[in-house]
């Protein structure tokens, strides 16, 4: 019990120090990381959609319908990736802006 108590106090003290002293550029880096992530997540979903569609077309000989449908689904999936990332990032409280956004 006393050990938990100590851990608690250490965590609290650490959080206080972090909030005060962790430099602001850490959160800038986090924002840039998030930006890189969203951009490539969107593009990758479209690429995957197209190739999935081309593959289905080639196997089932329904060209070009699967490509069209999967391209559209890819766009939707890309937007969904971006929106999900943004929502997760926004859910983090302003107080712990320096914590990870993926929890």
């Amino acid at each position: 019990m006393s050990k938990d108590d100590l851990n608690d106090r250490i965590a609290k003290a650490q959080a206080k120090i972090d909030a005060k002293e962790r430099p602001a550029y850490m959160s800038t880096g986090k924002g840039m990381g998030l930006g890189f992530r969203m951009a490539s997540d969107f593009a990758a979903a479209v690429v995957v959609g197209v190739f999935l569609g081309l593959g289905i077309d080639a196997v089932f000989k329904v060209s070009p319908w699967a490509t069209i449908i999967c391209l559209l689904l890819g766009f939707v999936a890309g937007v969904r990736n971006v929106v999900a990332t943004a929502m997760k990032a926004n859910r983090v409280q302003p107080g712990d802006a320096n914590k990870g956004e993926g929890a």
């Binding site: 880096g29 840039m32 990381g33 890189f36 992530r37 490539s40 997540d41 593009a43 990758a44 979903a45 690429v47 995957v48 959609g49 999935l52 999967c70 689904l73 890819g74 939707v76 999936a77 890309g78 969904r80 990736n81 914590k99 990870g100 993926g102 929890a103």
Partner: protein, 253 residues
């Protein structure tokens, strides 16, 4: 005067020792050499830093501790307690990518992470691990990540393919981002640097002046940005590994 400013030449793979098993090409290339250099630098640094451990850390030990705690902090923030066994993995991935990126920033040194064969393999490995861990931990319940709860059946017909495409896009996105950033950054550096000799050749003294005053500060800035990107890409890769692992470890969301 011929000026060689081909921006893609720096990414050429050279076979240093030919070595083949049947059709399998296992030659030792410059890429492999710089990977070995990166790993040796990393192991050497950590070995020296942690060789004489003290309660009050020296500068080197302090750096190694910050390095480790940075990664451990990401894993703990994202995965909480179940993520603990994966700290070494994420640490290894981050360190390798970071060192490889930084090694690539040195003049004339090769950037191993600017080849999709390297980054793509790491991405596929990561996603493969996520799937493996998910199936071990949850069995077929792992497939529930494709079927969001609380969605009407009709919508599921649309939502499930979207989720599957979204999941399949992860390794592509993971590998492509690192590869594209390193490749793009180095090409940009080379192209900008190539402006100076081109200007000097085309305009003589005026060109040299323009190159020195206008282009050189730009190159310095882009180089600084590239160092930031080198760190950020390693960070993003490590963090996304944690986020994806969370699908396999954590509760449904």
């Amino acid at each position: 005067m011929m000026v060689s400013t081909d921006p893609m030449h720096q990414f050429k793979i050279d076979r240093w020792f030919d070595f083949r098993i049947g059709d399998l090409d296992l030659s030792f290339t410059n890429s492999a050499f710089w990977m070995v250099v990166g790993v040796l630098v990393l192991i050497g640094f950590l070995a020296v830093a942690t060789s004489k451990m003290k309660t009050v850390p020296t500068r080197m030990q302090s750096l190694a501790e910050i390095w480790y705690q940075f990664i451990a902090g990401i894993v703990k923030d994202v995965n909480h307690a179940p993520g603990k066994p994966f700290i070494p993995l994420v640490f290894t991935l981050f360190s390798f990518i970071f060192i490889a990126n930084i090694v690539g920033m040195m003049p004339y040194w090769f950037t191993t992470t600017s080849h999709i064969a390297v980054t793509g393999f790491m991405a596929i490995f990561t996603i493969g691990l996520v799937v493996l861990v998910g199936i071990i931990k949850k069995g077929f319940g792992f497939l529930k990540i494709f079927v969001p709860s609380g969605v009407p059946f009709v919508l599921l017909l649309i939502v499930t393919p979207i989720e599957i495409i979204s999941f399949l896009s992860r390794p592509i996105s993971l590998g492509m981002r690192l590869f594209a950033n390193m490749l793009g950054g180095h090409v940009a550096l080379k192209v900008f640097a190539g402006f100076i000799p081109s200007l000097a050749v085309a305009l003589g003294g005026v060109g040299m002046l323009m190159g020195g005053l206008l282009v050189m500060p730009l190159i310095v800035g882009v180089t600084a940005l590239e160092f930031l990107v080198a760190f950020l890409q390693a960070y993003v890769f490590a963090m996304l590994t944690c986020v994806y692992l969370n699908d396999a470890l954590g509760e449904a969301h």
